[in-house]
Structure formats: structure tokens, C-alpha cells
Symmetry: C2
Subunit: 703 residues, 2 copies
């Protein structure tokens, strides 16, 4: 969406409140009151056909009566009156519509919602909502909402799909001591969506971190692209990841997907950092909005208490950034700032005897060491130290060290004094937390941000040339026959068009042809019934393997046809597939679904018990880069199988990654046609020997 | 430890402070000051050879000079002076020693620590510490510590191994609003240990929940037993669970164990609820100290915000208590307290329009429904409601409903007003949290407590009669030969003595005997070299399987001996084992280690990739009950394998559970002898067909 239009919507020079009221308690009153109280510098025009004055402002009966330019309108009239108001706004050349009113798609009135969007678009207006609390901005002194006050001032900006949560979070910014510049309620996202706001906030000079509360995206791909292009950390809490969503999915891959896994994959691809819960969203937002990314894995922890040091060490491992011992020269220097029974290994335990000086010296020295990529400073409130002084010592040490570009987080465990000291640290840009694991988790998010940025920067070029036209020809043929399920031979033709290494498979329509093709392919061969009406070929007695000579092929041809007819007399039979018999290899599975939010999405897992018993699979939204494909191979619990276990040689992971990459381009290119697909089994051989897709399945979308 | 003696230690009638000082800032001053400030009603006697008066109290040069009975002494003199002070205390007939002084085992002076314990025991005194902050009790108005004040008053009591953390937590009780009656610093646990305090606090009328911060237990079994016998909820945070501990372990089972897994198993067996981190320890302690256990799985959530409702639903699933829809009649009634667009399914969404009345009505009705086992009430601060009034509504509803024995937790998301309202709720015994997932996690701990209580109540009787004497005879024979490693035949003799279903295995010392024994066992047979000097039988060419006739047995006998001699010329050879060839079954592994903390501890897992690649194993401290054994089978990720997958019939889980149970009694009975053992593979057959231990290994302790 146009940047200037969003400026007009979210930081308008003048605002009308349509549905303004003189009755305290009414939303139309609260919005006008909030605009005035927040110190908004532009003109505010209350619109109400019956009132004459509200809170000292002149009231106009219709927005068209305002004798000046109105850039944005906050709309609080009942739902049924909204279309006419928007029509009026359009005629008045208003640019931005903040539609607080509810009673649209969320209450089954999608028609009314479509109608207001249509009017807004006709006049080139941007529409935020409907069904929202409004929008708030500290830097613009703008509270265009019915939330009671501007949030605690800070550098993050929040976009939320839950209005109730916005109001609650607004108040909580003060008690949690996490500041925001903007809070935007996005509601039904009838027009302006999260992707639009991510792009806009990325350009906002007052925002350093974009924080999202997501219940469900409408256009997942636009979201991914917007986030990939952003230059600021984005953190998202996805609500609604419990099982009921996945249970409804019909297909195999679908049933393994579920919102949590697919959103998790999409966030990673988008470079979006995840939040595990509401507190974690606050905690990580604070760090991401105040501190630089962490460029390496070397985390140093400085503490005055062994207990909190151990808890932080446990947390570092739990959150994926295990501690290492500091280099000897660093240890030797740090030993100067602690008694003999302290520890300089990491965590650096200055002991309970540590006062301001030791903290100052240790922090100042450690942050400047090239080995150190990031630092967590812990402090246990003691009877002999003053938390405020410790905080000042830490602040001064960081300042005096003059090191920029390395993140620091802090945790003070204690009472009121510690809380006050942490508040001061936050004010000078040092995130502080009430428990050591939270400080560790926060710095881990800065490491994740750095890692995700590198991943997002990877090129997504297809790994092999493809022949989309050939693939579409196959699909057209199937569509002509009013079918949705492709035969294995048809599916493999499409796979082949995308350079996927299928086992050679030819269709025999007679016994003699079967023999001829078997000789062409070379013995031994596999033979399978080819019929769009027989999905479960084995159950129908339609599969024979390891056929070593012409006699076996002849016998198998006859048996397969007989079995198929006995199984389903009316089945339409294309013939019998004669197939190269791939040697044994490690079985893996590729699959795809067309996710309602993200579109073509692929799955990878090991075959057999790994997928069937352990559900050990991983997902990515297509396309996947080579780097992502390699990460997929490493993400499954059974990953060591591919690296070689029990004395077996490593599998050909490079070739497998290339296949994942090509497969992802196949499902993406043909996303308008393919509903789901799988390659099962795929046999992976040792390094340098590649792999073979032994069976393939494609189901088309209903059209 | 004697209950009365602990009373004298922890709630003494009179106290001496040995090492009392008149210099503010010194620990010997702080302790006297704290005793006076805390309102302690007993006499306080400062002891110092040079001072005459401290804080208005008469000072005695030696404790023996005090002209009255002294029940306990707080000792703050330097470490080297402590033995003489304790000697003096003993002569003075002091009962309890609170040894704050550090510089004992934690600094390498185990000798000095042993010495003071010896003196204390000689005089029948109990010793807390050394290396502690002291002990605090609200109900006794006793601050016998150098922590600055008594904690926020409450019903939980905390025992901590970290003194620094005690001081920090003491202050944090006020900011986190979690009250405690007692805080006890346990330090080096030279005498009084955590188990002693669990037992003592279980009898303490002012404690409703025992909260533990554990770095490392000394006697794990005593801890488990003390906790099993307790009648109050016990919650523990185990610090120090990162990998380095496990890496040092030598054996296979040992390397899979690690502190986290073994402590986790021990906590479960002890009926101890785990805390994931420091905040979680506070959160769960609050709920466990104020609310009753949750008797069933039906959790109802009442909310005024869809967003927090969804977050709570996600949390319920994440923490293992997934929501179910409320029964239709409950839904119908609840629909009366919400607008049409609300939801009565669960979460019960009263919507943002909900005021005090709807909350009151919904809470009062829902808590009284037999279907409901527990309730989480969520509230998002809105512009139209007052958090305090909502809190009063909830409190009154619960009171008016008159339902006891069902837990309720609350979360108010908002600012200062919400924080204040939650504080009031906590005061009347309703745990309240700043985020919905925390309220859910807290109520889940009450469900866990109920489940653990049932588990602990299970009988631990051995499943089968055993012949310990026979087993010890085998071990004696091996010890006579100066060996630690048993041969397979010897190990199986011991297994057999504990009723474990081994494959029948007989030792042949000649070719003719081999034939004879093979005929006795029945063909086909397996043959294996038996030599205490050959551990890896296959590598030595010492194993032949599927031998179907006498000729093969003769040939195998000769080959195995030749191979063994070629492999290791000096190997002492007992002969060749002739063994029943067990039919194929699902491979599982049993193993045991002698854990330094908990003693004999067993492992169970599926064989092959499950143990080798996925480390998919589970642990229990021996003995395990039948119920625990069945839970072990269900805990591994590969559990579905045992229930039957891919059309296979279920495995004989009952028989397997019995074997686990017997195995656990074997390693427990022989815990003084066996260092580690395993049964690998164990072949498990379909239901009713039992299982067979195909190979067995036992390694004895060094003596």
C-alpha cells in the first residue's frame, strides 16, 4: 500500500470524528477526548447531526460541512450507517478511514465489509479496521482510539489483531516498563493488513522494533515478503496454535501441518522472531527495540550469585545458546575483580562480595573483549550493596568501554530497590528483567534476529532448470478427463519436468509391450497397475516387485490386470507401469499442501516410523532456498540418520537439498493447480550417489 | 531427624548470637539487629569476648557464661573458630546450631566441616549450614539471618541451597506478591538436609506448600522418601541441568541420563512438582500454597477478551491440560451472561461488554457445575470496567457459590489498577497473574499435584518372587576371580534369580557337550564365546546364530574357539554358550546406573534408532511400581510402537511392565554390588506372548 496514503491514515494532519458524542462514556466522546488529551497538534472536527459543541469544539452535522481539508476520519457510527459515512468521506477527499465500528465480517456481515472497502477504494482511501480500538502514537501525540491513554513512550511499535488486548497492553506498558511508540489495532483487516503496516513501520523513524500479535493472517505470502524486505527486527506472537485447527485437515501432509508448524516455518522464512507467550512478547520486544543484534555465539554472563548464574546457564542451553568457557587470557584478567573463591570461567561469578567497582571493572573489561559477542549481567540483591549504584556502575562501564554493536541484557533479582534500578537501566537503553532466564531469553532473541537476517538474505533461485509448460500439458490432459487424481506415471512426468530424479517408469498397454519396456529399462523391474480409479495399488494386488526376467513380467502383467478387475470391475485401466527397481536406500518423504494462509507449503521427513509414529517432519513455505533445504534436513529429530549412523556412510544430503529446492519450485509454479502432492518413498543413497523418487502422487485443486 | 530437635533449631525459645558485633555492617551485628527488629519474643544473648553491650543487650564473653538456658545459637565467628564455639555450645546444652560462617566444604575444607558435625553429633545438637544466610519465619517473628527483613507473609515455606538467592527472593516476595511463612537457607547441608526440612515443614501448621531451590542433593533416596510421605504440595526448582554433567558419564545408560532426566524422574516418583524457572517457582508456589488440588481434567476458562482466551487455550494444550467444550446445559446457562456474539463453549467469552455482574454470574454458576474441576478467570482491562470491582465480583461469586475443593486462578492483563486488584485477590487466597498462560500454568500445577499424589500412593511391592541369595552367590564367585565384568551366562543367572525371562543359555565346555546342550534346548540355537576377557563377542568372531543341526553346532564350536584365540591369544575362555534362539520381536532396552545422588536408577527405551539416534529413553529411580512401569512405556516418543502400528498387533505391555518392575528390584537389592547393567536386546512379542531377554550384561562396583 502507498506509503504516503498510510501516512495520511496513521499520522494525519487533521482528523474528523464521525459519530462524535457529547455523552461521556460513549466511544464517540472518548475518542474526541483522547485526541485532545494526547496533545494532538492537528485540528479535530467532531461530526454529529444533532450536537453543536463537544468538549469545546464546534460540531458539524456532516463531514462534508467541515470548511477545511480533513485528512483522516475516525468512524464510530453504527455499522449500518458506515457505508454512507464513507461515501461522504470520499466526496470530502478524506484519505484515511479509522473504522472503530464493529458488526462486520466478525458478526457474519462480510457483505457490509466488502461494501465499505469498495467505497473506500473507489475514492482512493485507506481503511483501517473495521472492528478496532483505533491507533495511538507517542511521537505524533496522537490517541485516535478509545484506549484511555498513550502507552509508555518507547521505541517499539505494536500491531495487534485483538482490540481488547491493545487496551490491556496499553496499560501494561507502564507496569511492565516496556515502552512503545505506536499501538495500532488492525481488527478485521478489510483493507490495510499487517504486511502493509510492517512495510510502513519499517520506514518509521520512531520505530526500532515491530511487534505483532497475530490471530490469523489473510495473505501469508504478502506478509512473508513484507517482513523479508524489512530492515528492523520483527517479533510476533501467534495465538491460536492448539490442535483443533490441524484435526480438520484431510490429507496426510495436512494432518501433520497445523497452524503452529506452518506459522513457525513461515516466520523463520520471513525472518520474524517468535514469542512464546505474552510476557515473552514484552520481554523480547524490549531487547529488540533497545539493543543491537548479537553477531556471534559467545555469550558471557557476569553475576554476583552462583545460584542465578547456574539458572542463567541452564537457560542459555535451553534457549539454544549454550555457554562456552571464556578464553584463558580473559579469565586471567577477570580474576582480578573477584575474591579467590570466585569463578572466571563463565558464568563470571564475582561472588556476593562484589560491589560497584568489581561490577564496573568486570563489565567494562569483558564487553571490550573480541571473544565476547554479547553479555548478560546478573545481580542478586544483597544486604551490602545498593541496586541503584550497581546499575549506575554497569551503565557507566558500558559507556566508558565505548563498545557499540554488542548487546547487553540485565537481570536484578530483588525487591523494590532492584525494580527501581532496572527501571533506570531501561531508561538508558539497557533491557532489564526480574529473572535471569528472562535476560538470557531476551539476548537469545537478538542472536536469533542476526541468524534470521542471514537466512533471509539467501537467494531463492531455483536449483535446476524446469519445464513448466510440459508440466501444465500433463495437467491439462488430466483436467480434460475430469480427473483430480493423477496416475503415478502422470505425476512422475510432472516431477521429471522439474528435474526430480524419478525411477524410470513407462506405461505398457499390452503384455508384449510390458516385456519390451522391461528389456528397455533393464531387469529387475517393478510393475504397478495404472488406473485413476485405483488409489491404493497394493491393496488391489496391483504391485509386483523384483521381476527378473521376461517370463515373470508376462505372468505379472496378467496377474495384475486380473487382480485389478477383481478389485474394482468398473475401474478404468490405463495399463501397467514398468518401472526401474531402485536399489535400497534411506527412505524419506516429501509432501506438499496448499495452505489456506501461505499457499504452496512443503513438508520433509524420514520415512517409516519417523513420519508414521514420531510425526518427525518439518515444513517450509515454497520456494525454499538451498540453505533452507539443508536446514530442513538438520531440523528433524532423525537428522543423524542422514549424516550416517551405526557405521553407515553419510547420505547424499546435497542432492537431497537440491531435490527439496526443485520440489518447492514445482509446487509453487503449479500452485494454482496442485492441491497436494507427495513423493513417497524417496530413496536416498550415500554421498555422491544421489537419490530416486520411487513413487509420486499429485492431486489437483477442485475448480 | 528428630522433630523436637528441629523445633529447637528453627523455632528456638532463646537464641545466642556467637560472634555478635557492635559494628553496623558486620554480619554479627546484622543478625542481632534482625532478631530484635523482627519482633522475636525470646531472649537474645550476644556473645563476644571483647564487647559489653550490643544494641542495648548485655554481651557475654562466652556462651557458657550466659546465666540461662540457650536453645539455639547463631554462629558468625570465622571458620577456624567454629569448632571451639560448637564445643562450648555442646557443653552449654544448646540444641540448635545455625552456622552462618563459610569456609568449609565449599572452599575445600571438608575436614573442618566433618569436624564440626562430629562435635555437634557428640552433643546431640542439630546443625543448619554451614555457609548459610540463616533462617526466617513470619509466624515465629524470627529473623535469625543477615537477610534484611522477614518476607511478605504467606503460607508457603522455602528451603534454598543458594544463600544469595534467599536474600534476593526475600526482597522479591514483596514485588512479586508471593508470600512465605519461612525462608530457610540450608547451605552445605553438613547435618540438616532438605529431606529433614521437608518432613519438618510437612508438620508445620503455618506452611501449606513446601518450595525448594535445589542445586544438588546429597542423599537422593532420603529426599524421595521424605517427599513421598509428605501431605502437602512440594515444588522444586532444580538448577544445574545443562549438559556438562552428563558428558562426564562413562557408560551408555549414564551418557543418556544427565541431571535433568534423573532428577525429573526422581521428582515424579517423589511426588514433587517441578518448576521450569525462577518465575515459575514463584507462580506455582502461589497457587499451591493457596488453592486445593484439581481433581479432574475439566478446566473452564472465563474471559472478557477473545485474544487472552486464545492464548490461555494455547497454554492449556502446551502445559498438558487441553480444553474441552463445556456440556450443552452448561453452555446454555452461560449464554445468559453474555451478548449474542459471545461464546459459551470454552473459553467462555463474555466479551468486552462484560461488567461485574456477568463476571459474578458466570463465575458463580460455572464453579458450581459438577463438570467443572477447575477454573481460570481472565480479564483484559477495558475502558468501561474497574479492575477492583471485577475482582470483588469474582471473590464474591466464589464465596457465594460455597464450593470448596476446586481450584481457581486468575489473570488480569492491564496496568496499575489491574495490579492492585490482583493484589487484593491474592490477599483473599485467589492466585492472580499478569499473563493468561501463567494462570493456566499455575492451575496445571494443582492438577499435577493431584496426579502425582495418586502415583505416589501406588504400592511398590515386587511383582515376582526373587532369589537374592542365588544372585549374590554368582557375584561372590565373580569377585573371587577378581573380576568386575560378568559373562553373559553369569549375568543371566542373576536375571533369572529375579524372574526375568532370559533366553535359555547353557555353557558348553566341549564340542560334544555343545551338541548335547543344543539338543536339550532345541534347534535352532545361537552360540557365543564365553570369556571374561572378550567383551565385544561379535568383533571377535565369537557369535553364530540360527544353527539348525548338530553338524552346524560342531562346526560353530570349533570356529568360535579358533576365532577367539586368534582375536586374543591370552583370553581366558570359559567355553561356548549354547542359547535358545528367540524369535524376532520388537527390540527394547533396559539399563541401569548407580546414580551418585539417587543410587540404582533404571532406563527404558526402544532399541535401534530409538535409543541410538533419538536418545528416546526414560528413567526411574528403583524400585518402580507396576503403574510407573506402565507410564514409562507410555512416556517414550516411540510409545505407539508398543501399542501396535502399521497393522501390527499390540506388544505385550503388561509382561514388559512386570519385567521393568522386577529389573528395578534386582538393581535395588544388589545396589551395593552392581555398578551398571543392561538387557539389550529384549524381544517383546504380541499381547499374551511375553518377551525374552536375549543378551544381558552386568558390571560390578569397584570395591
Amino acid at each position: 500500500m502507498d506509503h504516503e496514503l498510510l501516512n495520511q491514515l496513521l499520522k494525519p494532519k487533521t482528523i474528523a470524528v464521525v459519530g462524535a458524542s457529547s455523552v461521556p462514556g460513549k466511544i464517540g466522546y472518548t475518542v474526541v477526548d483522547n485526541l485532545l488529551k494526547s496533545g494532538y497538534s492537528g485540528e479535530v472536527y467532531p461530526i454529529n447531526p444533532t450536537a453543536t459543541e463537544i468538549l469545546g469544539l464546534k460540531v458539524y452535522p456532516n463531514i462534508k460541512d467541515v470548511p477545511a481539508y480533513v485528512e483522516a476520519a475516525v468512524i464510530t457510527v453504527p455499522a449500518k450507517a458506515v457505508p454512507q459515512v464513507i461515501e461522504d468521506c470520499g466526496q470530502k477527499k478524506v484519505k484515511g478511514l479509522i473504522v472503530i465500528t464493529s458488526g462486520f465480517a466478525e458478526s457474519g456481515r462480510r457483505d457490509l465489509e466488502d461494501q465499505i472497502v469498495e467505497i473506500a477504494h473507489r475514492y482512493g482511501m485507506a481503511l483501517l479496521g473495521p472492528n478496532i480500538v483505533g491507533t495511538l502514537s507517542n511521537s505524533d501525540k496522537l490517541n485516535a482510539s478509545f484506549a484511555p491513554f498513550l502507552p509508555l513512550n518507547g521505541k517499539a511499535s505494536l500491531v495487534t489483531q485483538s482490540g481488547a488486548l491493545l487496551i490491556a497492553i496499553d496499560a501494561a506498558t507502564y507496569t511492565r516498563n516496556v515502552g512503545f511508540d505506536k499501538l495500532v489495532s488492525i481488527g478485521n483487516m478489510a483493507d490495510v493488513n499487517i504486511a502493509d503496516l510492517v512495510t510502513w513501520l519499517d520506514d518509521d523513524p520512531n520505530t526500532t522494533c515491530i511487534s505483532l500479535y497475530i490471530e490469523g493472517l489473510r495473505d501469508g505470502r504478502q506478509f512473508i515478503e513484507a517482513c523479508q524486505h524489512a530492515h528492523k527486527p520483527i517479533i510476533a506472537l501467534k495465538a491460536g496454535v492448539s490442535a483443533h485447527g490441524a484435526a480438520a485437515a484431510a490429507s496426510h501432509t495436512g494432518s501433520l501441518a497445523g497452524a503452529a508448524k506452518v506459522y513457525g516455518a513461515a516466520f523463520q522464512q520471513a525472518g520474524v522472531i517468535g514469542a512464546s507467550d505474552l510476557s515473552n512478547l514484552f520481554d523480547r520486544t524490549l531487547a529488540l527495540s533497545l539493543q543491537p543484534p548479537m553477531k556471534g555465539d559467545n555469550l558471557i554472563i557476569i553475576t554476583n550469585g552462583g545460584g542465578v548464574g547456574v539458572l542463567a546457564t541452564d537457560a542459555a542451553e535451553k534457549f539454544g545458546l549454550p555457554l562456552k568457557f571464556a578464553p584463558e587470557e580473559v579469565q586471567n584478567e577477570l580474576k582480578k575483580y573477584m575474591p579467590e573463591f570466585g569463578s572466571a570461567k563463565n558464568p563470571i561469578d564475582l561472588t556476593g562480595q562484589a560491589g560497584n567497582e568489581w561490577y564496573y571493572d568486570a563489565v567494562r573489561y569483558a564487553i571490550a573483549q573480541p571473544w565476547v559477542d554479547g553479555m548478560v549481567v546478573l545481580y542478586c540483591e544483597t544486604a551490602i550493596t545498593n541496586p541503584t549504584e550497581i546499575a549506575h556502575g554497569i551503565e557507566k562501564a558500558l559507556k566508558d568501554a565505548g563498545i557499540h554493536g554488542k548487546p547487553v541484557t540485565v537481570s536484578f533479582v530483588g525487591g523494590e530497590k532492584s525494580v527501581a534500578a532496572m527501571s533506570e537501566l531501561i531508561k538508558v537503553g539497557i533491557p532489564a528483567y526480574q529473572a535471569p532466564d528472562m535476560a538470557v531469553n531476551a539476548i537469545v532473541s537478538l542472536r536469533e534476529y542476526e541468524n534470521l537476517s542471514h537466512m533471509v538474505a539467501e537467494s531463492a533461485a531455483p536449483c535446476a532448470p524446469s519445464n513448466q509448460a510440459a508440466a501444465r500439458e500433463v495437467i491439462a490432459r488430466v483436467r480434460e478427463q475430469q480427473r483430480l487424481t493423477l496416475t503415478e506415471i502422470e505425476a512422475k512426468e510432472i516431477f521429471l519436468a522439474y528435474g526430480l530424479p524419478i525411477t524410470r517408469t513407462l506405461l505398457a498397454k499390452s503384455e508384449n509391450e510390458a516385456v519390451e519396456l522391461a528389456q528397455k529399462i533393464g531387469f529387475p523391474v517393478v510393475m504397478k497397475i495404472v488406473s485413476p480409479d485405483i488409489l491404493h495399488k497394493s491393496d488391489a494386488g496391483g504391485v509386483r516387485v523384483n521381476l527378473k526376467d521376461t517370463a515373470s513380467v508376462r505372468e505379472a502383467y496378467r496377474t495384475i490386470l486380473t487382480n485389478a478387475k477383481n478389485y474394482k470391475a468398473e475401474a478404468k485401466i490405463h495399463g501397467v507401469a514398468i518401472q526401474e527397481m531402485a536399489p535400497w536406500g534411506t527412505e524419506v518423504i516429501l509432501g506438499s499442501v496448499n495452505d489456506p494462509t501461505f499457499g504452496p507449503t512443503m513438508m520433509f521427513g524420514l520415512g517409516g516410523i519417523f513420519v508414521e509414529v514420531l510425526k518427525d517432519v518439518t515444513f517450509r513455505v515454497a520456494p525454499v532456498t538451498r540453505g533452507q533445504a539443508l536446514r530442513m534436513l538438520g531440523e528433524i529429530r532423525g537428522a543423524p540418520i542422514l549424516s550416517g549412523v551405526r557405521g553407515e556412510s553419510p547420505r547424499d544430503r546435497e542432492a537431497l537439498a537440491e531435490v527439496l529446492c526443485n520440489y518447492s519450485h514445482m509446487i509453487l509454479d503449479l500452485g494454482d493447480e496442485i492441491a497436494e502432492s507427495d513423493a513417497n518413498p524417496v530413496l536416498v543413497y550415500e554421498e555422491g550417489r544421489g537419490l530416486k523418487v520411487a513413487d509420486a502422487r499429485i492431486i489437483l485443486k477442485k475448480k
